[in-house]
């Protein structure tokens, strides 16, 4: 149940936001309305009641704040002109606002103003009038907004009005909201009967989430003893749901972080796993991908702003191409001379990473660059108790697509077959006519290109700076080492495990300490399984 209900409320909220932006159907001309408002000022309570009736007749929603201000006793009339105004203290003087147009008027001394007087009978009239204007308004969205507002405030005084509104309501959604609001009020009021309260508890509980939890907890204190047990059990149920949602939210954050790690690590898994080459410049490939996105967006901004939403689609192939070419150049220029010397490769690629960082710093400057989100990646939505941003969602989808595409490449293409052959037995593969240097270069190009794609994705959620890659390199290595070298599924499991574990540790230990704990745990884990989760066994491996 609580899954559906918050969703319905969400829809209502969206409707409300819509309503606020649309001009009401019933809107009287400003001047006419001002005259009617000014009629509130002079005369007796009786005259005022007549003026209120006249205003209610207009059905204009702008009347509602005036009534509310009047009910609170904060409505004033300027002595000289007889104009009714809103006031706000501004230094020694009072700043005046036109209640109809909301335009700023002069300031005036308090002594120049008369309070528009109000008594209890008038307050009742006002409440009914406000109800007429809102809960009974012919406009659906206004009624909904009113019901929502009562749901929020749960003012016991509006119960009577709410009852009549419920009786008249035809729209089922709005009616449901009103009934829920009534239930909250019933729980609050001492005067209501036990049966009424008993019936109200499940309605309130059905709101779900923290709101229901708060309402019920408040009700628990004042509830009659017979009801306490029911309320308590509902509270427990809600707390359980809430805890489950928290877990789900953490899992989502974890998956999101895991996808980022997966994107950063998967190219590394190829070069490290398939080729046995440690590429310390891998992070810089990610960085280059991000800067490609930046460059593409800059070009689009200057030449064809209309294409902005397509900037990522343009950046993706470009980033892949650029980083793949850089990767191939590194492989041909440096790494191929160092095969079999893993530690030297590590040092040489570290040197390359320094050069690439400084090159980007010289070209684009050392500061963060702004990479914009296309409209379809901004914003977010709520799914049950989980809030999800579109950028994160797309990155999860993107990581999954890359992962499975890569699996396909390795399993189904000629290059994939050759890559696996070279991995298993380089000399035999070469004897069978596979051009191993070509395969090496292509593998490195593929791994680097994927890092470039990761860079495009990461530019959407991270700062694009020359140090971008540095932040990911250690984490990516941890993923590959943890998951087990030479197995893409291991990389997937490794990334997700680390991502989720990180997010679950964060609330208890804080982000930094959580990260330290993860690092220490991996160091300990490697002691037990030096070749990672998905280790391969065999004589050749252990040699």
């Amino acid at each position: 149940m609580p899954v559906i209900k918050p969703f319905a409320i969400l829809m209502l909220l969206l409707g409300l936001a819509f309503a606020a932006n649309t001009p009401s159907l019933a809107q009287a001309p400003d001047a006419e309305l001002s005259t009617l408002v000014d009629a509130l000022g002079p005369g007796s309570f009786k005259d005022r009641t007549a003026a209120i009736d006249a205003l209610t007749q207009t059905g204009d929603p702008r009347v509602v704040p005036v009534f509310e201000t009047l009910a609170a006793g904060d409505l004033y009339m300027v002595k000289t002109s007889g104009k009714v105004v809103f006031i706000a203290k501004s230094g020694a003087e009072q700043a005046l606002t036109d209640p109809v147009t909301n335009a700023d008027l002069d300031t005036a001394a308090k002594s120049d103003l008369d309070k528009v007087k109000v008594n209890n009978s008038l307050r009742r009239t006002l409440r009914t009038a406000i109800g007429q204007l809102t809960l009974l308004s012919p406009n659906d969205s206004v009624r909904l907004a009113a019901a929502q507002s009562i749901l929020r405030d749960a003012d016991p005084d509006s119960l009577e009005l709410l009852e009549s509104a419920i009786a008249n309501e035809t729209d089922p959604t709005i009616k449901a909201t009103m009934i829920t609001a009534r239930a909250i009020i019933i729980l609050k009021l001492d005067a209501t009967s036990l049966e009424q309260k008993r019936a109200a508890v499940p309605l309130v509980a059905a709101i779900g989430g923290r709101d229901a939890l708060a309402q019920l907890s408040a009700a628990l204190a004042s509830a009659p003893d017979e009801l306490k047990l029911t309320i308590q059990s509902n509270i427990d149920g809600l707390a359980r749901d809430q805890a489950a949602w928290d877990v789900a939210q953490n899992v989502w954050y974890g998956i999101s972080l895991g996808s980022v790690l997966l994107l950063a690590a998967i190219g590394l898994a190829i070069t490290f796993g398939v080729m046995g080459v440690i590429n310390m410049a891998h992070g810089e490939m990610v960085m280059l991908g991000a800067y490609t996105t930046f460059a593409v967006q800059e070009t689009i901004r200057q030449n064809a702003p209309g294409l902005f939403d397509y900037s990522l689609a343009i950046a993706l192939p470009l980033a892949f191409l650029i980083t793949a070419l850089v990767g191939i150049a590194i492989e041909r220029g440096v790494i191929r001379w160092l095969y079999g010397r893993a530690l030297e490769t590590l040092l040489a690629t570290w040197g390359i990473s320094l050069i690439l960082q400084q090159a980007v710093r010289s070209l684009f400057g050392p500061t963060n660059r702004q990479v914009g989100n296309p409209t379809w990646m901004s914003g977010g939505f709520e799914l049950g108790g989980i809030s999800i941003t579109y950028s994160r969602l797309w990155i999860v989808v993107f990581a999954a697509v890359i992962f499975f595409a890569l699996l396909l490449v390795l399993k189904r293409t000629a290059l994939g077959l050759q890559m696996r052959a070279v991995t298993q037995n380089r000399r035999m593969a070469s004897a069978m006519g596979i051009r191993t240097p070509f395969v090496d270069a292509m593998t490195f190009g593929l791994g680097s290109g994927i890092a470039g794609l990761a860079g495009v994705a990461l530019s959407q959620i991270d700062n694009v700076s020359p140090n971008l890659g540095q932040g990911y390199i250690i984490d990516s290595f941890m993923v590959v080492v943890f998951g087990g070298v030479g197995n893409l599924w291991g990389t997937l499991v490794g990334a997700m495990t680390l991502g989720i574990a990180n997010k679950f540790l964060e609330p208890y230990a804080g982000a930094v300490l959580g990260k330290i704990i993860i690092l220490v745990l991996i160091i300990l884990f490697i002691q037990r399984r030096p070749r990672g989760l998905f280790a391969l066994k065999g004589r050749s491996i252990e040699a």
Partner: protein, 389 residues
């Protein structure tokens, strides 16, 4: 027995190196203190400090060389041991500030007052005492190296895996020391030192003495390393580097050999850090940065690993270059450093010392003594498991 081992270590090369270092330990401070400024031969105090810094780096590189050059363990986390030694010394120096801090609190260092701490954390106790701090300078890095090494070497984590793990170790420490609630000054680290052993750290004489101490420290480290590598244990270390599993079948406990080298190396690195801090006047978490540790590797590689003198030459040369470049062309420095990594690994696997050695063999035609390249790497097939599935 021990004297015999040390005696054997003192071959001609080691004697030369130690003598030069001792000479430097006397000459440089003398040139600063005795020769008046302006006169030929005077070394200004900032240069004394700069040279002192280079020598601490040389010590760090020598420590790394003991594990990498001789034992085949490429540690990318030696900066962590250096920094830990530095922090231990920094804590002593902080305690010597006493009530002369900005907040004039006699019991607490400034940053703790700033964080509203009421009392000194337990792990700061004892650091008022110089000798206690000195013990910690060696014990803390040594213990960390021992525990880390024990776990890693026992489960036979080797090669690039070990390198990445050491990098993760220093990265974890970097993150930890950035935290304010660790009680080590967080982001800013420890600084604003006043006195060491009662002498002002700013005074010329103190700086000269610190330089002399560093040179002597380096000389002692050279002796220790020379003793180890010239002993039978040194031969076993090289055996482990070249053919680890064969060494095991001879009955040597490879993990203990590595553990010994790693721990001794960490202690030397810690002492280097402790000598560094009073001269530079600050220690902060930046010293734990993985990039720093990798830089140490390149000093060692440039000079020539697997030799005693190589890392010392490398550390001094690269850092002189760094001082020059970062002053004159700051934007070029990273290009130069990056190129240095690439060029050294591609063209100078044995470093400058190896180059000189090659030149010598070429000129004297003693080809038989040209040593083969260290083969700490395994054949490619070993590090390349099955493809992804």
């Amino acid at each position: 027995m021990i004297t015999q081992a040390i005696f054997r270590a003192i071959d001609r090369k080691a004697i030369w190196l130690v003598s030069i270092l001792l000479l430097v330990a006397v000459a440089v401070p003398a040139a600063n203190l005795i020769i008046p400024p302006g006169q030929f031969g005077h070394i200004p105090v900032y240069l004394v400090t700069l040279f002192g810094k280079y020598l601490t780096y040389a010590m760090l590189a020598l420590a790394l060389d003991l594990v990498w050059g001789y034992c085949g363990i490429l540690s990318l986390g030696h900066g962590a041991f250096f920094a830990l030694g530095g922090y231990a010394m920094g804590m002593y120096l902080m305690r010597q500030v006493g009530d002369r801090g900005v907040y004039a609190n006699p019991d607490l260092p400034d940053f703790m007052v700033f964080l509203n701490w009421q009392e000194l954390p337990w792990y700061w106790l004892g650091f008022d005492n110089f000798w206690f701090a000195c013990a910690m300078v060696m014990l803390v890095p040594g213990t960390l190296a021992f525990i880390f090494g024990f776990l890693a070497f026992r489960s036979r984590v080797t090669g690039v895996y070990l390198s990445i793990m050491t990098q993760a170790m220093t990265y974890a420490l970097l993150l930890a020391f950035f935290r304010n609630d660790m009680g080590f000054g967080g982001n800013n680290g420890l600084t604003d030192f006043k006195e060491i052993l009662g002498a002002s750290v700013q005074a010329d004489t103190t700086r000269a003495a610190l330089f002399a101490a560093t040179a002597v420290g380096l000389a002692i480290s050279v002796l220790i390393c020379s003793t180890i590598v010239n002993s039978k244990l040194g031969k076993v270390m090289i055996a482990v580097r070249d053919a680890e599993s064969r060494t095991r079948f001879l009955g040597y406990r490879v993990e203990y050999v590595k553990l010994f080298a790693f721990t001794v190396s960490a202690v030397i690195a810690g002492v280097a850090g402790a000598l560094y801090v009073p001269q530079i006047g600050i220690i902060n978490p930046g010293e734990f940065a993985p990039a720093n540790s990798i830089e140490v590797v390149i000093w060692t590689a440039v000079g020539g690993r697997g030799t005693i003198i190589g890392p010392i030459i490398g550390a001094v040369l690269v850092n002189v270059g760094k001082s020059y470049f970062t002053g004159a062309f700051p934007e070029i420095w990273l290009f130069a450093l990056g190129a240095l990594f690439v060029v050294t690994t591609l063209f100078l696997p044995k470093g400058i010392v190896g180059l000189i050695g090659q030149y010598r063999t070429m000129t004297t035609r003693r080809e038989q003594h040209q040593r083969p390249e260290p083969t700490e790497h395994k054949p490619a097939s070993d590090v390349q498991p099955k493809p992804a599935e």
